[in-house]
Assembly symmetry: C2
Homo-oligomer: 381 residues x 2
């Protein structure tokens, strides 16, 4: 039972006047319902997928901090063009933080809840940048004995995304994958997974130095989109792997179109009768991120058997159903220290996460920097 | 049994030096194999989908004719940029004409073939711009008694495309449709089909005068993409119909993106909790034509539940399997004089089809002109 009745929770508000406000709200600690458990959150990562909700598209170069070091308030301007897309959240004080891990310190009366008492669990529940999180027991992933919250903090977003990509490949009848922005934490994890499962993976990176990073962890096919030989390199890797499915984190520009064209060129290598509708090999790109928010330009020189679409982890998990999703989660727990291990460059408290010098680092998505928030760091529990 | 041993067949060749050549080849009339029938082709339409194979991307303003009126040869230049996409067909003399109808004049020895003797049948077999076509009996669609070849000539491409759009809608869980370039022959047929089956249909036309054309045949939702109020009009029609699936004949430009954005805006009308990933309503655009060969530009302001892809009739029919495809064909035959009736502005012989003044008309895809080729017109049979 927590020795206190309230806890801190990081909140993000986009105000109608075009200002983002980040602050630490002091909120009551709820009593768990019969099926619920109360978790002391000890570790929650800052994922790229958290930044959109947290910063609301604000121009971080305008960020200012007020308040006290323990109770800071960060404000920043949201550009008018971005405000148009924020209509759905204006004025709402939203909690942040998709996933994390901690210890169950109180439970509801149900058997399922009570068995979790004292266990270290990981959850994907939102509102994780908070000292305490009350959640249904069924949403808890029990970590293997000896796993720390920091080790289990990133059990969902990246591991399930990597597994979801591989499962999507199998469900849709492809046999190998392409991944862009491949040097990211997720990209590195996907390499480990594909190596473990013997799946062909074509890694597309934007900077030549990232090629070495991936090759060092065993990646076999790494091509750089900044190389003059990019399209030839890509085609060779596609021929070698037979990949006809790509997951693209970039979204904007011509990359998705280039991938489809290269897949079509690789398919055409196999020959066959001329058809002005192109090959019958279905080529698919899923856009799951938006590192480039600009328009996607498709040059449609890849026949008629193609598709592009959005891919969202939560939608994928809903589609495969709770049992299949649970199997994926159990694999993550079993391999959390190996295939799905995450590494962080810094651990910060909630208040430290609102320092401008920290925001300047974790607020931009850059390969090689990954923050872990420990919401109870420095606070009496 | 035909009184002659050879017949004329229209051929298209793209030569390595960048020249398209159209001519009438005199080819032997084959003896039907046991399962085959020989058809005297009396009617074959010029569909937009025939033009690509026939003209090979040639610049028709450079077209010249040589030879004799009965044995003409048309040549035209293929621009170098187009030649790059023609590698698969260079030097091959290709027959043309996707579909048509005629009378079975000779059969193989099998029971299935022999029952077709003397029947008027429609086929989708390619090589239909020819006096005679030998084909497997199973590919023949027997037309109801009293149907002329001209009435049955367009039983496949447009009717099955319209039915395929509606079936795709049902298979993928949508309840209404959007169609672009909606004043086309296909678009008019789709309106008749959707009215008959009580399916909501949003028609997008490019010219205001086409709104009246569609409204005259009973279309309820017609919006013009050239109107200043286009996006508002489209959204209202999407709200009214609930359409979340579009078939786009244009392909290039921003239209597909605008359709997805408008679908998302219509979905957002229903309210619900804010999600920065947009609505969970899946929005889909299939590009089935390429009236605008330019790039497709997607602005990705429509959440994550979206898809765009190519849609090709032959791939769709293969996907649903032969039994389901046969049901669609039987419906076409039953309604060939009503829902699936086609109208032609001119009937020409094979030789007339190679006159420059006719090519100038049917060679460009324009709403309101549709040619029917009668390969035996003026020839002794």
């Amino acid at each position: 039972m927590p020795p206190q009745s309230t806890g801190l929770q990081l909140r993000s508000t986009v105000k109608a006047e075009g200002v983002l406000e980040l602050s630490l709200a002091r909120v009551p600690i709820p009593d768990p319902q019969p099926d619920e458990v109360l978790i002391r959150v000890d570790a929650s990562p800052v994922n790229p997928s958290d930044l959109g909700l947290m910063f609301g598209g604000a121009d971080l170069s305008t960020a200012k901090v007020s308040g006290t070091p323990d109770d800071p308030v960060v404000t920043a301007n949201v550009p008018p063009v971005v405000m148009k897309t924020m209509a759905g959240r204006v004025g709402q004080s939203l909690p942040v933080g998709n996933e994390g891990a901690g210890v169950v310190i109180r439970t509801g009366s149900s058997d399922q809840a009570r068995t979790l008492m004292g266990k270290t669990v990981a959850i994907l529940g939102g509102a994780m940048y908070a000292q305490f999180r009350c959640i249904n027991a069924s949403q808890c992933l029990v970590l293997p004995p000896g796993t720390t919250p920091a080790e289990g903090a990133s059990c969902f977003v990246n591991p399930l995304t990597a597994l979801g990509m591989v499962e999507t490949m199998r469900l849709e009848g492809h046999s190998a994958l392409v991944h862009t922005a491949a040097a990211s934490n997720l990209g590195q994890m996907l390499n480990k997974l594909c190596l473990a499962d013997r799946i062909g993976l074509v890694n597309i990176v934007r900077k030549p130095q990232h090629m070495d990073l991936l090759k060092a962890i065993g990646a076999q096919h790494v091509v750089s989109s900044s190389a003059q030989t990019f399209l030839d390199d890509l085609k060779e890797a596609l021929v070698a792997t037979g990949a006809t499915l790509a997951f693209d984190a970039i979204g904007g520009g011509k990359l998705a179109s280039q991938i489809l064209s290269s897949m079509e060129a690789a398919a055409a290598r196999s020959g066959g009768e001329y058809s002005r509708y192109g090959s019958t090999t279905h080529k698919q790109v899923y856009i799951y991120g938006g590192l480039d928010r600009g328009p996607t330009e498709l040059n449609r020189n890849f026949g008629m058997a193609w598709g592009i679409g959005g891919w969202l982890l939560t939608a994928f998990l809903k589609k495969i159903g709770p049992q299949a999703a649970q199997k994926l989660r159990e694999r993550v727990a079993a391999e959390v220290k190996t295939t799905f291990a995450s590494h962080y460059t810094k651990e910060v408290s909630l208040a430290e996460a609102l320092r401008l010098e920290e925001i300047a680092i974790y607020g931009q998505i850059s390969t090689g920097q990954k923050y872990l928030i420990n919401p109870n760091k420095g606070l009496a529990t």
